[in-house]
């Protein structure tokens, strides 16, 4: 099987190193962003090598040192790095066993390994990994066809272990990028314009002089303005003063038109999406009349607002301009791409830029991490020799990081006389999810780094075309997994929308699955069939059926208790990755507030490696999606973003946490399926369906706030 990491990095030494002290280094291009990929990779390596997990060090990704595995996203890490590390570890074991057999003069098949000690069953002679391989290069390629352990032999994989680093996290010793401290370091803050379209006209010279006298460095390049100094809080205050000393040309401001109007009426690029989830470069066939044999036809439009990543720690970046190059630390999900963009923007040779990944707060996609790294780099280049730690403020993170686009989904479905779907139409509308920085023609790297657009001589605006990959972007999970005889699927990339957008966990899948799974309930009702049976009537994939049955047998959605509602949602992420079914029980109070009571999450992610880490992706994903569905929306007016902090952009807190049960289907020996994004879409839909079950109100636009519920009740 082809593996992207191994294709580019075929040699074993690029993945694994045995140290003289017996510790084992595992190198990966996938970064830990709280999803516990390092724990899973350590478990996989430890399993194949027969050592305890605590002997493995998963090395932080550094450009030029770690394999380039692209971006840590799309639930790809287990299928890519997980497989690569498994094959690398198995190759390493095999290689060391062969050497041991020679050294001990025994047959290789007589060798066992226990805790890194290779022992012959026949002779009792033994040798340790580090005695053979300590601090030496393997100088062989990873064998993609090597035998790996059979699932029955697994002692570590599939078990429950405490996540790496958690003991340091709970004692506060764990160092995030935000906690870096090096001698001579300057703290820095950027002074942003009031909004995207504003540009700096002038800065009051007296004010800057006073700040300089107080020891602050001020860096300006066009409309990019920043302050640096030794004392972090003094820098924060200086940045506030500097903002007050700026004159801005605010231009016409942001477009205030109703976003759902804009989604429907702005110019757009439309592409038909064929049944395996791939957009086609050909015209869209117009929507035809429903089939003659249809006994019922339903239409509905579903909407989802812009969502913020809302990382708990505002983005940060560290940079130091040395004589020979640039040292950067970043919590970016794609340090190699970021390096290409930064090198391009600063007109430096890529090899002179080194980016080390350091943990940040959970980002769930393209948040401000890359931009903050570039901000730090810009400041560092203006102040060579000074290590710079740049942090965004809460307001900056909320108002300048990219958002997930608002989306509209228009569905039309027809039923036949047997209550089965005869014809299915789904068109999705949204802005791009694909704005991660990466070098390219017309200075595309600089154009996709926030501050790149505010410097003197800015690059032309980068306009993303419709992505044509399978399930990449607006059309992720646009294609339902259900067996429908006729489908018409269209993605519409809408132009001239007001806010900055890029990748957020699931891309279009959250909105598409919300729409599909609500519409399935609407059709089921017309067909007179209960929602679970209706789904099963259209599903042949046995693994899909099994998760739905696992969730709904534990929480029967057709029999909600008095005063409560129950709903279900299902999807296989990208029709290719992990399966998830969600059953929810909730109540809508007289104050029109939703109280979540119970949720059962059933998942099938192929072979389970880190059991608890996998469960955490499901239960954490559910709670985040519940927050998206019930509480969140980015707001703005002419003068800029108005949802600028946790009061104006509320998220779900600890007051509304249901009893959560996560059921994982056992699939030993079956390929890993990425699970980080599987549960989000089904969760949003299950909540909407449960609200309908509780109240008879069909909410088709998120968020499901008390206001939205009251408005729906008035219309009903």
């Amino acid at each position: 099987m082809s593996n992207p990491g191994l294709n580019g990095h075929p040699t074993l030494d690029e993945w694994i190193a045995i140290k003289a002290d017996g510790r084992i280094a595992v190198k990966t291009g996938k970064v830990d962003i709280g999803q516990r990929i390092s724990t899973a990779l350590a478990m996989i390596a430890a399993e194949e090598l027969d050592v305890p997990v605590d002997r493995i060090d998963v090395i932080r990704t550094v450009t030029g040192e770690a394999p380039d595995e692209g971006i840590t996203s799309g639930s790809n890490s287990m299928m890519e790095s997980g497989v690569a590390v498994r094959l690398a570890a198995a190759t390493a074991r095999r290689h060391m066993l062969a050497q041991a057999a020679e050294q001990l003069d025994v047959d290789i098949d007589s060798l066992d390994v226990e805790d890194g000690l290779i022992q012959s069953r026949n002779t009792n002679r033994s040798v340790r990994y580090e005695e053979i391989q300590g601090d030496k290069l393997f100088e062989v390629d990873v064998n993609p066809d090597t035998d790996t352990k059979s699932p029955e032999a697994h002692r570590i994989v599939g078990g429950k272990i405490a996540p790496l680093d958690l003991s340091e996290i709970v004692t506060g010793e764990y160092r995030f990028l935000h906690d870096v401290k090096v001698p001579g370091m300057l703290h820095a803050r950027v002074v942003r314009p009031p909004h995207y379209e504003a540009r700096l006209v002038s800065v009051d010279a007296d004010a800057t002089e006073r700040l300089r006298e107080s020891g602050m460095d001020i860096v300006q390049d066009g409309s990019f303005l920043a302050v640096a100094g030794r004392d972090e809080f003094a820098v924060i205050r200086a940045a506030e003063r500097l903002f007050g000393a700026c004159a801005w040309n605010t231009g016409p401001g942001l477009v205030e038109a109703d976003i759902y109007e804009s989604l429907a009426s702005n110019t757009r690029e439309s592409r038909p999406v064929e049944s395996d989830g791939v957009p086609q470069d050909k015209p869209v066939t117009p929507l035809a009349d429903p089939p003659k044999s249809a006994t019922a036809t339903l239409e509905a439009r579903y909407d989802k607002p812009y969502h913020a990543h809302g990382s708990m720690g505002p983005s940060a970046g560290f940079a130091l301009r040395t004589e020979s190059g640039l040292e950067v630390k970043s919590h970016s999900q794609g340090v190699y791409f970021l390096r290409s963009a930064i090198a391009e923007a600063l007109d430096m040779d890529e090899d002179t830029v080194r980016i080390e990944h350091m943990p940040g707060a959970g980002c769930y996609g393209h948040n401000g991490a890359d931009d903050a790294a570039f901000d730090a780099a810009l400041i560092a280049c203006a102040l060579p020799g000074h290590p710079i730690l740049l942090k965004w403020t809460r307001e900056e993170e909320h108002s300048w990081a990219p958002y997930a686009t608002a989306m509209s989904m228009k569905l039309r479905g027809s039923l036949d006389a047997d209550g089965k779907v005869l014809d299915w139409n789904h068109e999705s509308y949204g802005d791009t999810f694909m704005m991660r920085p990466r070098s390219g023609p017309n200075r595309a790297g600089a154009a996709r780094l926030l501050s790149g657009r505010y410097r003197d001589d800015p690059p032309p605006k980068f306009v993303a075309g419709p992505t044509m990959g399978r399930h990449v972007g607006i059309h992720r999970n646009l294609d339902p997994l259900y067996d429908f005889p006729q489908k018409r699927l269209v993605k519409n990339l809408v132009r001239d929308l007001p806010l900055r957008t890029s990748a957020l966990r699931t891309l279009g899948a959250f909105a598409n699955i919300f729409a599909i799974e609500c519409f399935m309930d609407e059709l089921a009702e017309v067909a007179g069939v209960d929602p679970v049976t209706f789904r099963l009537n259209h599903l042949t994939d046995p693994r899909a059926r099994e998760v739905i049955e696992a969730a709904t047998s534990r929480l029967d959605v057709s029999t909600p208790p008095e005063g409560r509602g129950r709903g279900v949602g299902f999807a296989q992420y990208k029709n290719l990755k992990a399966y998830a079914a969600v059953a929810v029980e909730l109540e809508v109070t007289n104050a029109a507030e939703i109280v979540l009571h119970r949720a059962v999450l059933a998942g099938d992610a192929g072979e389970i490696v880190d059991r608890d880490g996998l469960a955490a992706q499901y239960d954490g994903g559910f709670l985040q999606a519940a927050s998206w569905a019930m509480a969140e929306q980015v707001t703005w007016d002419r003068d800029g973003i108005t949802s600028r902090d946790w009061e104006t952009y509320p998220i779900l807190g600890f007051e509304n946490v249901p009893e959560l049960e996560t059921v994982l289907i056992e699939r030993p020996g079956v390929p890993f399926l990425g699970a980080g994004e599987a549960v989000s879409g089904p969760s949003g839909a299950a909540i909407a369906n449960a609200i309908y079950s509780a109240t008879g109100l069909r909410l088709r636009r998120m968020p499901f706030t008390p206001d939205a519920l009251r408005a729906a009740a008035m219309d009903a």
Binding site: A162, L166, G172, E173, K181, E232, M312, F622, W646, E647
Partner: protein
């Protein structure tokens, strides 16, 4: 430049700096106690929580000078504290963190809660954590960890 003292984790510490600087910066930058995080600086998220005379307190927006003469305890010292240690162990057992940025603040809040309410019910746990946010969705695990810590403490 001002000079003043703070009592942090049982030790009296001399601080040279502006007393108006919010405590979180003094802890993190002057005393290298990085457990308290800067999440918002607006008293909206709970990442910066420390114990002040046993009460969970957000310290990102209150001048450090206000805390003179009080007992400040940061998450780093909680392994020495009966409730704190039980909470830390329980967080590990329940895998109650993902990225961990909010976690130190939650450990502090949970410790304060269990000191006051050794056997909290769900309602009391929720109100004990009302100043706190988590973006990764670790909530259910955090709640279970607090229940677990409460049970362990009942048996010591």
């Amino acid at each position: 430049m001002d000079c003043y003292t703070l009592t942090v984790n049982g030790e009296v510490r001399e601080i040279a700096g502006d007393e108006a600087t919010p405590l979180v910066f003094v802890l993190r930058n002057d005393l290298d106690l990085i457990g308290a995080k800067l999440g918002c600086g607006l008293e909206q998220c709970g990442a910066c929580a420390v114990l002040v005379d046993g009460e969970a307190t957000l310290c990102c927006n209150r001048p450090a000078g206000e805390f003179a003469g009080k007992q400040i305890t940061t998450v780093e010292a909680l392994s020495e504290d009966t409730e704190g240690a039980a909470v830390q162990v329980a967080f590990i057992a329940e895998g109650a963190a993902q990225c961990g940025y909010c976690t130190a603040g939650l450990v502090v809040a949970a410790t304060a809660l269990l000191k006051k309410t050794p056997k909290p019910d769900r309602q009391e746990i929720a109100s004990g954590l009302e100043d706190h946010l988590c973006r990764c969705g670790s909530h259910a695990r955090v709640i279970r960890a607090i229940e677990r810590a409460s049970e362990t403490l009942a048996h010591v």
